[in-house]
């Protein structure tokens, strides 16, 4: 099921196999975390520094059409951006995960790094990345396009990398032994063992990541910084322009196009892929559920395609694999040779040294920048942080309040599930950011409208994830427990207290974690938005970030981003980790 919440906080609990290395475990890991976190902050500053020093020439104002006839083209643009970003994310994630899983030393650094990078709100990078990319490519279009792709990439890659890494670490022992004893080459092991085993995890995580990607893409397409227009032609900007002008016809067409794209993507891309991925399920027995016939089945019957596949595609793949097997073996032999080890050292150490020097410089300049802040800035920051904190948690509470009863009702009744599922899925797949301008159009007429709008955006972006998880949790409660509750005449309250709430607890926690990360992320646009030529905002940390970038106050921008990142990471460690541990030790349903 596509989930709309951006994956800014890691959605997967730490699997048991991905333990930290032993030996004075937690002090060592803690130190690494600190070191990595500092380095990341330094890197964040690096991006801003580049953006600032490379302020390019002013760009012509972007022209976004309001004509529904341009919608197919705009949809295409949006799809292409998502597609390229996803391809990049997948490749990078595979490489990252593989490296982290295969080298102990690399793992100790790369996984904490991934953890923290996942927690940093992606949208806070938006101004910096855009400015940097535009400075590199002074020609308007390319720079901004690359910027949006890069940003989506940042939002997607960590989730996928972690999924691949944890799959690699949990490869079944006997399959691994078979690969060793039958002398599989590195390539063969990757292609016939590691990658297939990881496929199902990769598919599901890709779906979640791409849904998150839409969220970020829409924000990118609407992006305006100060008096500079970084908007890109696409579905997001179309909706924003339409809302801006109050053009309800265009709004309806835009929303319809959005829904259409989402549904088409689901039917023609995700469903066939899920069907195909079933082949990689590591189950020894065939599951009894038969799937509905899909496009894959229809295509399968077209015999021309099969002929082509068998006659040209397969032999080509076989030949390539053979070449790779022999070639890789030869290459591995030469590369592993002792004298080549020196070569590797000569490459690795200077690289590492260069990175370290860069980081030190970045930390130094960053500290200098931060020293420009005055006392009232810090007070402001604290107040903003508190406000957004309240807003995020209220949104989470509101989500839980309606999704838990509804989710449990749907999860307990298969009939209801069948009816509700398609609606929920479509509603969930429409990126909330695309709807934000429309929401503003209605709410700004009310007093205190921005407050409501901000909270509504946060809700819209994150409640679906909680809902789907609660439904999954309710479905997972075994029938015999429900029957026991019935036979022993549990009252409604008892049922909730002893059966339902404990049963859905692990799933609820998973949902809330993702929702929380998404809400923090959403606050950056929810609290501060360019609309109808003016700026509408409500005080908060997200607003602080956006207004600082608008005003060109890089010290404030850096400080507020760091504060948000720190808060998210801290909540992650202190609250969600504990809840996960509680959930897996006490509330897990299997023995």
């Amino acid at each position: 099921m596509p989930a709309p919440a951006p994956s800014a906080v890691h959605t997967t609990p730490v699997p048991p196999a991905a333990k930290r290395p032993a030996g004075s475990r937690w002090t060592w890991a803690f130190l690494i975390d600190i070191a990595v976190f500092l380095s990341v902050c330094a890197a964040v500053f690096g991006i801003y520094a580049i953006g600032r020093t490379w302020l390019g020439p002013v760009h012509p104002e972007a022209h976004i059409s309001q004509n529904p006839r341009d919608l197919p083209l705009y949809a295409l643009y949006s799809l292409v951006r998502i597609g390229i970003a996803y391809a990049l994310s997948l490749t990078f994630a595979l490489a990252y995960g593989y490296l982290a899983a295969s080298s102990r030393r690399a793992e100790m650094l790369m996984i904490p790094l991934l953890d923290i990078l996942q927690s940093i709100p992606v949208l806070s990078f938006l101004p910096g990345v855009m400015l940097a990319m535009v400075a590199i490519f002074p020609h308007n279009q390319l720079g901004i396009e690359l910027g949006s792709i890069l940003l989506i990439f940042t939002g997607q890659v960590w989730n996928i990398a972690f999924s691949f890494y944890s799959s690699l670490k949990t490869v079944p022992r006997d399959l691994h032994e078979a690969a060793v004893i039958y002398r599989f080459s590195r390539w063969q092991r990757f292609g016939e063992l590691d990658l297939p085993f990881a496929t199902i995890g990769l598919v599901w995580n890709s779906m979640v990541s791409v849904a998150g990607g839409w969220f970020f893409l829409m924000a990118c397409e609407m992006f305006v910084l100060g008096n500079r227009d970084f908007r890109l032609p696409g579905l997001g900007s179309f909706l924003q322009t339409a809302a801006s002008h109050g053009d309800s016809r265009a709004i309806l067409w835009g929303v319809a196009a959005m829904i259409a794209v989402v549904v088409l993507l689901d039917q023609f891309v995700w469903r066939p892929i899920i069907q195909w991925a079933d082949k990689f399920k590591f189950e020894q027995v065939e599951s009894s559920a038969t799937a509905q016939p899909t496009l894959l089945h229809l295509i399968g019957r077209a015999s021309l395609l099969i002929q082509l596949y068998r006659r040209f595609f397969l032999p080509l793949i076989n030949w390539l694999t053979l070449q790779f097997t022999l070639g890789a073996k030869r290459a591995a032999e030469t590369f592993a040779a002792p004298k080549q080890r020196h070569l590797r050292r000569w490459i690795a150490y200077p690289l590492l040294a260069g990175v370290l020097v860069g980081l030190v410089l970045a930390v130094y300049y960053g500290a200098q920048e931060l020293s420009d802040l005055r006392r009232e800035d810090y007070v402001d920051l604290f107040r903003s942080a508190a406000l957004t904190f309240l807003r995020v948690n209220s949104a989470l509470l509101l989500s839980a309040l309606w999704t838990v009863p509804v989710g449990v009702a749907i999860g307990f009744s298969p009939r209801l599930a069948r009816i509700a599922q398609p609606f929920a899925q479509i509603a969930a797949s429409v990126p909330a950011t695309a709807l934000f301008p429309i929401i503003l159009l209605f709410f700004l007429r009310l007093r205190g409208g921005m407050e409501f709008a901000a909270m509504l955006l946060m809700l819209l972006g994150t409640q679906w994830y909680v809902l789907f998880n609660v439904i999954a949790g309710a479905m997972a409660i075994p029938t015999d427990l429900k029957e026991a509750a019935q036979v022993f005449r549990f009252s409604s309250w008892d049922r909730w207290r002893f059966l339902i709430l404990p049963g859905i607890f692990p799933y609820l926690v998973t949902g809330l974690v993702t929702a929380s990360g998404g809400a923090w992320n959403a606050s950056i646009i929810a609290e501060y938005f360019h609309f109808q030529g003016k700026i509408v905002s409500t005080p908060g940390l997200g607003s602080a970030i956006s207004s600082a970038s608008d005003a060109g106050r890089f010290d404030m921008l850096l400080a507020s981003t760091l504060v948000m990142a720190t808060i998210v990471v801290l909540i992650n460690r202190l609250v969600w980790r504990r809840l996960y541990r509680l959930a897996s030790s006490r509330f897990k349903l299997e023995s």
């Binding site: 078979a178 004893i181 002398r183 016939e192 082949k279 990689f280 189950e283 065939e286």
Partner: protein, 440 residues
Amino acid sequence: MSTVDTAAPVPIIEARKLEKFYQHPDGGRIQVIAPIDLGVFPGQILALLGPSGCGKSTLLRMLTGLSPASGGLVYWQGQAVNGDFPNVSIVFQSFALFPWLTVIENVEAPLEARGVAPMERHKRALRILDAVGLDGFESAYPKELSGGMKQRVGVARALVVEPEVLFMDEPFSALDVLTAETLRGELLELWLGHKIPTRAMFIVTHNIEEAVVLADRIIVLGRNPAHIHADFDVAIPHPRDRKSPEFVDLVDSIYRVLTHPGHKDDTAPTRTQVPGGAPKSKVVTLPHTRPGGMAALLEILADRGGRVELHGLSEDLGLDLESLLPTIETATLLGLLRVEEGEAIITHAGRAFAGADIQTRKTIFRKAALDNVPLLRQMEQALRAKSNRTLSEEFFRDLLDEHFSEEESRRQLETAIQWGRYAEIFDYEAESGKLKLTEI
């Protein structure tokens, strides 16, 4: 019939002083497998027999290079091998088939690893699939196959590279009795009919009868640390009849060897001397069983007059060695029965246990446990010494860590806690990991 050359047989694989130990952080070492000398001779099927947890799978993995040995060497045709092992294959207990590859792709995989061309490997794979009787199933996926068919694929895959020695790690224990029997027969047929170029087979099993049916030579392993307890030559001609006197005799002898009381298997491996330190006291190794199962065993014994032959008992109950021995060990440890010459004899306390109600049984068990299991006695005393009668499990884990590897000490503690709770010596709270003495 063993077909060993009478003129100076050279073992294909030979292990000399092969051992496995864990280095304890403060100096001493925990010996898991004592230095073993073993030779696999051409023309022989060798069976490695022993109870679970004795290290036979580890030994197999050391002989095939999957797991490094802590000491000693493995020789291949007289040459010392270092890491890269020549042509061997393994058939796994869990089949180890790749679920996303078809049957033929699974069988072709080792050939692909050796760089054989697609046409050639397809041909060879088809040939071997035919030999194991899976003709027509090439394009099936493993999840469409039954357990027996999956293992056939496992065997086909192992044989397709024409290994010199075929290793099998409890190959039939995941199958039902009839299928296992069929596969055993077919394997023997391939071997005896010289239809495969394999020169020797090494089978790890815990099923005595399986070993006697298949092997030309049976090595019985004892444990703590693993060592060769006995070495039997099986001279019975094929086809072997399970009811024939030679067969039954051999099975009996093996049972006797395995249940021989007083052999040092009951005690934990003593730590090698730490320089300057006194040797630690011997700690009894607990067999990993739940005490509940023992009651049924004792009832059956009492029912049959107090003496029963172990072989007959296992047949009647339909249990194999794996399930029966640990329970017998537990009862022996607690003094509720004793084993003599392959017979189980109930003791006075055991008779009382068999005839009592639940509450009395608990009392008897409690007394027997405190009398015979030093660990439980220690735990009870330690808890009593504290004013709040509570201690954390980590405390006892540290005690055990000195005698067992980390994993084993965890399991020992788990078993001790189970027994302690059953005997109502103490209560255990899993979340906090605390033990609290039960006041009688």
